[in-house]
């Protein structure tokens, strides 16, 4: 077991090194990525500033919290793209490229994730997000308690892992459906909910986006916890327990989908 884990850890480190090397050689990609993240960040901030030019507050959310929400969204997405291999899995299934991973003495799921790892992009995105959060805290004079920051980021990680496993299960549908681009697109549309405060939505939608597809966990609730919102802190444990259950559920769903899909996989491609 330890040898097995060590083998995969070595592979993981190797792909990370490769990723860094690529960015060292093609530094223009790094510049391009950085400009992309800064552009998206500026657009988010400009949007909320424009809205708050016309209104003073939206419920309990003021411009400071919403700017921090934008930053937290980038942190969440940066963690999510660490597992980008799941997103590209349908293409590999359709084109018969899974053989590359199935024929190796490695866990194919781990190999798929590691081979598509984009650590530099993930770190850039997360750093940009944390910089926005820190800048907002300084500019708007919001006191940050480290314990709240840890809890908020912990919930964010939990929510992201649920979304990653959900993504994996969706991608496994390619074993049966072939092209999953539009289903994926619909799933991606839900990402739009990340950028605004889900606690302001009607209760049904709020429940769905917190406890079924936990978009609220990758930006809204981490933001509220980081700023020390009492109501959010009070329900943290409840949310965490339900999300752990969801994590288990989607882990089982993905495992079953992968096993069933691999049994019918025929690497004909096309």
């Amino acid at each position: 077991m330890i040898r097995y884990l060590r083998k995969h850890l070595k592979l993981y480190i190797r792909y990370i090194r490769l990723d860094f090397r690529i960015y060292q050689q093609y530094w223009s990609y790094l510049v391009s990525s950085f400009i992309q993240y800064v552009t998206f960040t500026v657009i988010s901030v400009v949007f909320w500033q424009a809205v708050f030019f016309n209104v003073t507050a939206i419920g309990d959310w003021d411009v400071s919290k919403l700017v921090m929400l934008s930053g937290m969204m980038f942190v969440g997405f940066g963690l999510y793209i660490h597992f980008w291999g799941f997103y590209n899995l349908p293409g590999k299934i359709r084109q018969g490229d899974l053989d590359l991973y199935l024929s190796r003495p490695l866990n194919p799921v781990a190999a798929i994730i590691f081979s598509e790892i984009n650590v530099v992009a993930a770190i850039s995105e997360m750093t940009t997000g944390l910089a926005v959060v820190a800048s907002a805290a300084i500019y708007y004079r919001i006191p940050i308690i480290l314990a709240n920051l840890a809890i908020g980021l912990g919930l964010l990680v939990l929510g992201d892992l649920v979304l990653v496993l959900m993504q994996g299960a969706i991608s496994c549908s390619a074993f049966w459906l072939g092209k999953t681009g539009i289903i994926q697109g619909m799933r991606d549309l839900l990402d739009d909910f990340e950028r605004f405060p889900i606690t302001l939505l009607p209760s049904g939608l709020r429940f769905f986006l917190t406890y079924i597809i936990p978009m609220a966990l990758v930006a809204t609730y981490p933001t509220l916890i980081v700023v020390g919102d009492i109501e959010a802190l009070q329900i943290t444990l409840q949310i965490a327990i339900i999300e752990l259950a969801l994590l288990l559920l989607w882990a089982v769903a993905f495992s079953k989908a992968w096993s069933a899909g691999i049994r019918r996989y025929g690497s004909f491609g096309g």
Partner: protein
């Protein structure tokens, strides 16, 4: 289509799902602000605005012209078009139009269905409809010409990906795609009004919403036409200048 039935079915409900996000966002903003009018628009106006904007986005397209033109130049594929009796910019424009035609048909159908189901206000004046259609097509050509100019910079720079990101960002912020421009502070709105980006989405959408008088509509369309002419002339000049240094080595 039959091979990917779920794909086709999903594409039919793609836009309304996207609109759901926008609808809830602005419902929340208007509800909690306590204001009926924000930036000269009511909640109903904003919903129609964004619904039409999402449809117009599929008509106007995204920055793929930058990417395609940049690749044609970098990989030497431009030579294929130079050898043929086709005008490259015109060819690109019509390839964009072919892409937008399908989306226009689907978009109109979805707009009618969603408007009817949500009891949204629909423009009934045929003159405003005609003005809107002319204006949105001019907006498409403005966006195409601008992205063509950016793509043609590949004659001088190897990397147009970063430019594409900046173009998308600027267009998103200043065309009315992200937020109606009247919601910006007055000083910013004044500056943005002089840029061509507002004529891509914002002007056509305001025309549809009936927020302009007939004379103002004519003035907007005249300004759009001027920008179209300037940008098309600019793209021609860039192309002519770039072809002098073009050398189809590819790679």
């Amino acid at each position: 289509m039959r091979a990917y039935q779920l794909d086709f079915l999903s594409s039919v409900i793609y836009l309304p799902v996207e609109m759901g996000v926008v609808y809830f966002l602005w419902f929340v903003i208007y509800s909690y602000s306590g204001q009926i009018i924000i930036g000269g628009l009511s909640f109903g106006d904003v919903v129609v605005y964004y619904l039409l904007q999402r449809i117009a986005n599929r008509i106007v397209g995204r920055g793929f012209v930058v990417r395609e033109v940049g690749e044609d130049i970098r990989k030497g594929n431009l030579s294929i078009y130079l050898c043929r009796p086709v005008d490259y910019p015109t060819y690109k424009l019509f390839s964009v139009l072919s892409y937008t035609t399908v989306n226009l048909l689907a978009g109109v159908a979805i707009f009618v269905v969603v408007s009817a189901s949500l009891s949204l206000w629909i423009q009934l004046d045929p003159l405003y409809w005609a003005s809107f259609i002319v204006s949105i097509l001019l907006g498409l050509i403005i966006y195409y010409s601008f992205t063509l100019c950016i793509g043609l910079l590949a004659f001088w720079t190897e990397e147009t990906g970063t430019l594409l990101i900046l173009v998308d960002g600027i267009t998103h912020a200043f065309s009315g795609s992200m937020i109606p421009l009247t919601m910006y502070p007055a000083a910013i709105y004044q500056v943005v009004s002089f840029l061509p980006f507002r004529y891509i989405y914002f002007s056509p959408l305001l025309i549809y919403l009936g927020k302009m008088s007939a004379n103002e509509c004519i003035a907007e369309i005249a300004i759009q036409s001027t920008y179209v002419a300037l940008l098309l002339i600019g793209s021609r000049m860039i192309l002519r200048s770039g072809l002098k240094r073009y050398d189809a080595q590819g790679g």
